[in-house]
């Protein structure tokens, strides 16, 4: 009983912090989303679904997000999978740790500055200039959906590689040998053995990338040049420029609901297959 009191006391500061800085603010967002805009911005109490009814006003932002987030997720998956496979199955075990750390580390460094580098690379003096040298004129990359897509792949690739790597690493290599011994071609082995067994990793990676992409602001802000904007950009506009808190809260709540739906669908699918927990391995 004494020990249980100590344990509860140990939890006290973290609990208070989570209540004041997480639970309370999220409740405020939900409450405000049913309210109204004040005459000079801000919020006036109320209870209506007007803000939600008005969501189509930001249709373009939702549309861009719902097109580019899945597209970015898919592109990241296609690029990440061979790398994860290489790291898990083919890479030299002696340098594997280093290679893995080199994948995770960029993900934790300033996405702002790493994205900023692409302004150089995709801007007029970068790749388009190089193409001109080869005789290809008039290519425009920056401020197009393509530059945003490249930024997304670049920013989120590590997050996709890691879960896939973990699931491939766990894969029993004898299964691959068995498949080969039984006369299956490499492609068939991949399709019937490797791919099905790595589905949990694929699903985890896709879910992580997708839900983070839905809240993305920086990549479209820097590489989309105001033409390709996401829900995140709409939120910045609503809260920091037009100060429409009630409507902004409704947009934010909708965003979180879509995210939670994605996660719960994922959880349902995973419950059927093997379940893996990899939150720690990502750190």
């Amino acid at each position: 009983m004494k020990s249980s009191l100590v344990h509860r006391l140990l939890l006290l500061p973290a609990t208070m912090w989570l209540l004041v800085m997480l639970v309370l603010p999220l409740l405020v967002v939900i409450i405000f989303s049913f309210g109204d805009r004040g005459p000079a911005g801000g919020y006036v109490p109320g209870f209506s679904l007007d803000q939600y009814a008005n969501l189509p006003a930001r249709f373009t932002a939702f549309k861009n997000t719902m097109i580019l987030a899945p597209a970015g997720t898919l592109a990241a998956l296609l690029i990440a999978y061979p790398l994860a496979y290489y790291l898990a199955v083919k890479a030299n075990p002696n340098i594997k740790t280093v290679l893995l750390v080199m994948i995770i580390v960029p993900f934790w460094t300033s996405i702002l500055i790493r994205t900023y580098a692409w302004i150089y690379i995709l801007g007029g003096q970068g790749i388009p200039k190089m193409l001109e040298f080869f005789g290809v004129e008039g290519v425009r990359l920056i401020n197009t959906p393509y530059s945003v897509l490249i930024g997304i792949i670049y920013g989120y690739l590590p997050l996709m590689v890691f879960p896939i790597y973990v699931s491939l690493e766990k894969l029993d290599k004898r299964l691959l040998e068995a498949s080969q011994d039984l006369g299956a071609s490499p492609i068939r082995t991949f399709r019937n053995v490797t791919l099905p067994l790595s589905i949990p990793g694929i699903a985890t990676g896709c879910m992580l990338v997708f839900i983070l992409l839905m809240g993305e602001f920086l990549i479209p802000a820097l590489l989309g040049g105001g033409k390709v904007f996401f829900i995140g950009n709409a939120l910045v506009d609503l809260f920091l420029q037009s100060r429409n808190w009630a409507y902004g809260s409704a947009v934010a709540t909708t965003l979180v609901i879509v995210m939670l739906l994605t996660v719960s669908i994922y959880m349902k699918l995973m419950m059927r297959g093997s379940n893996i927990r990899e939150e720690v391995s990502l750190l």
Partner: protein, 277 residues
């Protein structure tokens, strides 16, 4: 396969290399590479706005990392003995804290704190005892920055330290208790040395997260400017070699901290798997 991997590593690291390279460019533009120079570093270091932003960022990152690692470690240890519904709710809260987009945390913190301050400030005016001196005014700034960053990074520390504590050898703790060590003594001599690398890794990750965070700070910084906010608004005004110099310093600092954190986490993993086998 191997070539493909090399190409991906190039893809991941060449933008970083480009920033570092251009930060030493004597010319003003990417296209006129006129020679090596450190003049942009000099410019940054003598720019009072950049330096003030740097100070703010360092202060916030240090405070958040300290709060997060102390309270996060306490919570991770406390959670070991907590079961049932409390545990489920706690796990859900940590999960939400980590998974919710930064932009939503930023918005939520902004409107919740601004609203709370609107009520708290008049109340403080009213009830502040005069012998305590001037009435403090609650404002968005350091408090909200540290509060929001600590919330997220504390959740990270809880996850990291908890997984380390779960892998700890319970027999040592029991042995220590059998040998009449006080719980306090057992903690400092047995538990703490085992979880220390995880705490340190958590501290480094928290510091880097806070130092690099743009989106939460963008909403809750109030009148303060952190380094990422300064960089973002400079980019908005036009790309200059000064940003490359700041970027190089920021990237290299966080790369160093992160590599240290990763090796702390992995080194202990290998150690413990060696002991187990």
């Amino acid at each position: 396969m191997r070539l493909y991997a090399i190409a991906i590593y190039l893809f991941l690291y060449s933008p970083i290399a480009i920033i570092v390279l251009f930060s030493f460019n004597a010319g003003r533009h990417a296209s006129d590479f006129t020679g090596l120079s450190v003049k942009w570093y000099g410019k940054v270091l003598s720019n009072p706005f950049a330096m003030e932003a740097l100070t703010t960022s360092l202060t916030v990152a240090l405070a958040s990392a300290i709060f997060a690692s102390v309270f996060g470690t306490m919570a991770a240890l406390g959670l070991q003995k907590v079961k049932g519904r409390v545990r489920v709710v706690y796990d859900a809260a940590i999960y939400v804290a980590i998974m919710i987009p930064g932009i939503v945390i930023g918005i939520a913190t902004l409107i919740a704190l601004v609203t709370a301050f609107k009520f708290l400030n008049p109340a403080l005016q009213e009830f502040w005892p005069s012998w305590l001196g001037n009435v403090p005014k609650l404002n968005m700034g350091y408090t909200s920055l540290i509060g929001a960053h600590t919330m997220f990074t504390m959740a990270l520390v809880i996850v990291i330290v908890r997984s380390r504590a779960a892998g700890m050898d319970r027999a040592l703790i029991e042995a220590s208790a059998d040998l009449y060590a006080t719980p306090w003594g057992t903690f400092w001599q047995i538990t703490f040395p085992q979880i220390f690398p995880a705490i340190l890794a958590g501290f480094l990750l928290s510091f880097t997260f806070s130092f690099d965070d743009f989106i939460i700070a963008f909403f809750v910084a109030g009148t303060e400017t952190t380094l990422p906010i300064y960089v973002f608004s400079s980019i908005r005004r036009g790309v200059t070699p000064e940003i490359n110099a700041i970027g190089t310093m920021v990237l290299l600092t966080s790369l160093a901290l992160l590599v240290a954190a990763q090796f702390l986490l992995r080194y202990r993993d290998r150690q413990s798997s060696k002991i187990n086998s």
